[in-house]
C-alpha cells in the first residue's frame, strides 16, 4: 500500500520536475544561457492563470491558456530585454558575458517576484484544477488532477522530443546546440533559432507553472526554490542534456517522496541535495553531461 502510494505520488511530482527542468536545460544547451529567472516565469504563469480564473472569471481553460501566454511573453521579454542586449553588447568582454547573463536574469527574476508580491501579495495562490475529484488506483486515493498533471507532462515532453528530432526547425535547434558556428555557416540565422528556443522555453515553463499552480500552489516565495530545484536537477543530469535532466528529475522526485514518506516531511529536500554534492564530486559533468 505504502509502496504504491510512493510510486504514484513520486511519479506525478517527478514528471512535473522534469517538465520544469526541460525548458531550463534546453535554453542552456542551445544558447548557453543559464536563466535564473526561471522560477519567476513559472510563478508568473501560475499567478496569471489564477488571477484570470479567480478575479476576472474567465474559466479554468482560458485561465490556463492565459497563464501559458503570460509565460511566453515573459520569456520573450527576458530574451529581448535582458539576455540579448548583454549578448550583443560590445562593451562587455565575451568571456564575461555568461556571468552578466547570470546576474541579469537573477535580478530580472527578483523584479518579477517583487512585482507579483506587490500586486498579488505574497500569499500562496492555487489554480483551480482542470479535472477535479479523486480516483482509486491500487487502493490509493489519488486526485484526478495528479494523474492529469503526470499525463500532460509526459505528453508535452514527448511532443518536444518529436519537435526536436522530427522537424526541420527542431533539427536546426539541435544543430545549434552542437555547433552554433556550423549552423551559421549553413546560412541559418542564429538569432531566429534562439527566438524559437525561447518560445519553446516559454511554453514549457508556462505549462509547468500552471500545472504546479494546480497541483501544489505557488507564491512569490516559490521563485527562488523553483529556480534552485530546476538548477540542481539540470546540474545533476548534466548541463544541457535533456535526457539527463529527465532522469535526474525522476531521481530527485522519488528521492524526495521517499524521504517524506519514510523519514520525515521536514527533511524532504536534504537527501537530493546530498546526492547532488556527491555526484559533483565523482562526476562533475553530471549524469549525462557532455561539457
Amino acid at each position: 500500500m505504502r509502496a504504491f502510494q510512493i510510486l504514484i505520488d513520486g511519479f506525478a511530482i517527478s514528471a512535473l520536475y522534469a517538465l520544469g527542468a526541460t525548458g531550463f536545460t534546453l535554453i542552456f544547451g542551445v544558447s548557453g544561457v543559464l536563466n535564473l529567472s526561471h522560477g519567476a516565469i513559472m510563478v508568473a504563469a501560475a499567478v496569471a492563470a489564477w488571477a484570470a480564473a479567480s478575479i476576472l472569471g474567465v474559466g479554468t481553460y482560458a485561465g490556463a491558456l492565459i497563464g501559458v501566454g503570460v509565460a511566453l511573453l515573459t520569456a520573450f521579454l527576458t530574451y529581448f530585454a535582458v539576455v540579448k542586449p548583454i549578448q550583443d553588447s560590445r562593451r562587455i568582454p565575451n568571456e564575461e558575458k555568461e556571468i552578466f547573463v547570470l546576474t541579469g536574469t537573477l535580478l530580472w527574476g527578483i523584479m518579477i517576484q517583487e512585482l507579483i508580491a506587490y500586486f498579488f501579495t505574497n500569499n500562496a495562490k492555487t489554480v483551480l484544477p482542470i479535472v477535479e475529484g479523486v480516483v482509486d488506483i491500487l487502493g490509493v486515493r489519488t486526485p484526478t488532477n495528479e494523474i492529469f498533471t503526470a499525463i500532460v507532462c509526459c505528453l508535452v515532453i514527448a511532443l518536444l522530443w518529436l519537435l526536436v528530432n522530427r522537424t526541420r526547425t527542431g533539427k536546426a535547434v539541435l544543430a545549434a546546440s552542437m555547433n552554433p558556428r556550423g549552423v551559421t555557416l549553413l546560412g541559418l540565422e542564429l538569432t531566429n533559432i534562439y527566438i524559437v528556443v525561447w518560445a519553446i522555453y516559454g511554453i514549457l515553463a508556462g505549462i509547468a507553472g500552471v500545472l504546479l499552480g494546480m497541483f501544489l500552489g505557488v507564491s512569490s516565495y516559490s521563485v527562488g526554490p523553483l529556480t534552485a530545484s530546476a538548477f540542481s536537477i539540470v546540474v545533476l543530469g548534466g548541463l544541457g542534456s535533456v535526457s539527463g535532466s529527465l532522469i535526474a528529475a525522476f531521481v530527485v522526485g522519488y528521492l524526495e517522496t521517499l524521504t517524506a514518506y519514510l523519514v520525515s516531511p521536514a527533511y524532504r529536500t536534504i537527501p537530493a541535495l546530498l546526492l547532488l554534492v556527491f555526484v559533483m564530486y565523482i562526476r562533475p559533468q553530471g549524469l549525462l553531461g557532455r561539457r
Binding site: 502510494q5 505520488d9 511530482i13 480564473a53 479567480s54 478575479i55 508580491a117 506587490y118 501579495t121 505574497n122 500569499n123 500562496a124 495562490k125 492555487t126 489554480v127 483551480l128 484544477p129 477535479e132 479523486v134 486515493r141 486526485p143 488532477n145 495528479e146 501544489l216 500552489g217 507564491s219 512569490s220 516565495y221 516559490s222 526554490p225 524526495e256 517522496t257 517524506a260 514518506y261 520525515s264 516531511p265 521536514a266 524532504r268
Partner: protein, 414 residues
C-alpha cells in the same frame, strides 16, 4: 565698566532669548503629534492590515480632537517580512523619525529580533500578531531591560488553550471525537504551541495519536496527509501560519476525510476563500475576531469601517493593531506624557475594551509578563468555520451564528 555692563546686558539678552526659544519649543511640544511607527509586512495579507488598521484608529482619534490636543501620526515602514529590514526600520523610526511608540509585525521571528532593540533604544513596542511565548518570557526574565516590549496578541500557550477549549465544546462534547493528530509547521511560534497542544488536548478528551512537524517551505502535503490518514484520527489539529493555502487546497483535492481544526492564520484572511478556490470550505480555525462577530460592541463597526475604507475585511492582526493605537493613546493620556518609562507604566495599567475583548496585560510576576490576559471576561478567542465562502463564528455559543458543517468528503467516525 562699560565693558562689564555690556557683558551683563548680553547675558541678560541671551537668557531672555533662550527663554523665548524654550517657551516656543514648549508650546510646540504641546501640539507635537504622538508619533507611532508601524513596521509591518505590507505584501502579506496578515501584515498589510496592520498599518491600515492603525491609520484608521489614528484618523478616528484625531477626528475626535486627538489626545489632549495632540494628534496621532502613523509612520509606516514595510519590512518585506524580513527581520533585518525590520531592525533597520526600528532604528530609523526611533533615531530619525523620533517615534514615541512602535507597533510591529505578526511574525514571531521578526518580533524576537526587534525586542532587544526596543530595550536598547528604550522605546515602547507592541506586537499585534506574533505569538511566540518567548516574547513575553524575555520580559519576565529580565524585566528592567525588556519592559519596553508588550505582547498585544495571545501567546502560543494561550492559543493552544483557546483551541483546546473550543475543541472540548465542539468536538468532544458535541461530536464525540476521541483522537487527534497534531500537524504543525516548524517555526518559533509553534514550539510552545505544540507543547500546549500535547498538554491540553488529552485533558479535554482528545488522545494525540501522532504529531507531525513539517518545514514551512513544504509544498507537497500528500505524504503528510497520507501519514495522518494512516493514524486514523478523528480530527487534525493544525498549527499553521506561514503555510495555509497549499495544505488546504491539497486537503480538498485529495479529499482527506478528516476535518481540520486549530490555528490556521491564513484562514483568518477574507481572501483565503478566493486564494484556495473555495477549498477552504469546512476549515475550522481559531481567531480573535471575525467579520460580523460582535465580540464587543466595537468589533463589527471597526470591521465594516475598515472594509469601507480599504475594500476588504481586516486580518486578525488588523483588529489587534487597531486596539493597540487606542490603548496607546489612552496610556499617553493617563501618563500625561510620551516619556518611555512613564508610558510603560501606563501601558501596564491598561484596561481597554477593544475589538477583540477586554485588554489587560500580565504583570511583572506572571510568567508571561506584558502579554495580554487570556480568559473569560477578557479574551478567549473564537472558533470560526469557512461556510459557503464566508467566515462564520461557531464558538463560543454567545457569538456563534451557525452550526458546524463539513463538505461531503469528510467522513466523521462517530
Amino acid at each position: 565698566m562699560n565693558k562689564a555692563l555690556s557683558g551683563a546686558l548680553r547675558c541678560a539678552f541671551g537668557a531672555a532669548a533662550a527663554g523665548v526659544v524654550l517657551a516656543a519649543s514648549n508650546a510646540a511640544f504641546a501640539a507635537d503629534p504622538i508619533k507611532i511607527g508601524v513596521i509591518a509586512e505590507a505584501q502579506a495579507i496578515a501584515g498589510a492590515s496592520i498599518p491600515q488598521a492603525a491609520q484608521l484608529a489614528a484618523d478616528e482619534i484625531n477626528a475626535g480632537g486627538g489626545v489632549d490636543g495632540r494628534k496621532i501620526e502613523i509612520i509606516g515602514y514595510d519590512n518585506h517580512s524580513s527581520s533585518a529590514d525590520s531592525v533597520r526600520a526600528f532604528q530609523r523610526a526611533v533615531n530619525e523619525d523620533k517615534v514615541n511608540v512602535v507597533i510591529a509585525s505578526y511574525i514571531s521571528e521578526v518580533v524576537l529580533a526587534l525586542e532587544p532593540w526596543a530595550s536598547r533604544l528604550k522605546t515602547p513596542f507592541v506586537t499585534p500578531g506574533a505569538a511566540s511565548n518567548e516574547i513575553s518570557k524575555s520580559v519576565h526574565a529580565d524585566y528592567e531591560k525588556n519592559k519596553y516590549t508588550f505582547h498585544g496578541y495571545l501567546t502560543s500557550a494561550a492559543l493552544a488553550l483557546s483551541v483546546c477549549d473550543g475543541a472540548k465544546d465542539l468536538l468532544v462534547d458535541k461530536m464525540h471525537m476521541k483522537t487527534a493528530v497534531i500537524m504543525s509547521e516548524d517555526a518559533a511560534w509553534t514550539k510552545p504551541l505544540d507543547v500546549g497542544y500535547e498538554e491540553c488536548l488529552p485533558k479535554v478528551g482528545l488522545k494525540v495519536l501522532d504529531h507531525i512537524r513539517f518545514s514551512p517551505d513544504t509544498t507537497d502535503f500528500t505524504p503528510i496527509f497520507n501519514k495522518i490518514e494512516g493514524a486514523k484520527p478523528d480530527v487534525i489539529i493544525t498549527g499553521i501560519s506561514h503555510v495555509g493555502v497549499q495544505p488546504t487546497v491539497q486537503w480538498k483535492n485529495q479529499q482527506v476525510p478528516i476535518p481540520m481544526f486549530g490555528i490556521s492564520s491564513q484562514a483568518t484572511n477574507e481572501t483565503f476563500g478566493k486564494d484556495t478556490n473555495q477549498a477552504a470550505e469546512g476549515v475550522l480555525y481559531q481567531g480573535v475576531s471575525g467579520p460580523g462577530v460582535a465580540v464587543t460592541p466595537k468589533s463589527v463597526p471597526f470591521a465594516e469601517n475598515f472594509k469601507k475604507k480599504y475594500g476588504n475585511y481586516p486580518s486578525y492582526a488588523g483588529y489587534t493593531a487597531y486596539d493597540e493605537v487606542y490603548y496607546i493613546a489612552d496610556a499617553v493620556k493617563r501618563a500625561g506624557s510620551t516619556d518611555a518609562d512613564k508610558l510603560v507604566d501606563a501601558l501596564e495599567k491598561t484596561d481597554w475594551e477593544g475589538t477583540i475583548g477586554r485588554v489587560q496585560f500580565y504583570g511583572k510576576d506572571d510568567p508571561f509578563t506584558h502579554s495580554i490576559k487570556y480568559g473569560r471576561g477578557l479574551i478567549t478567542g473564537l472558533m470560526l468555520q469557512w461556510q459557503d465562502g464566508k467566515q462564520s463564528a461557531v464558538w463560543p455559543k454567545e457569538v456563534a451564528k451557525v452550526d458546524i458543517k463539513f463538505p461531503s468528503f469528510i467522513k466523521l467516525s462517530n
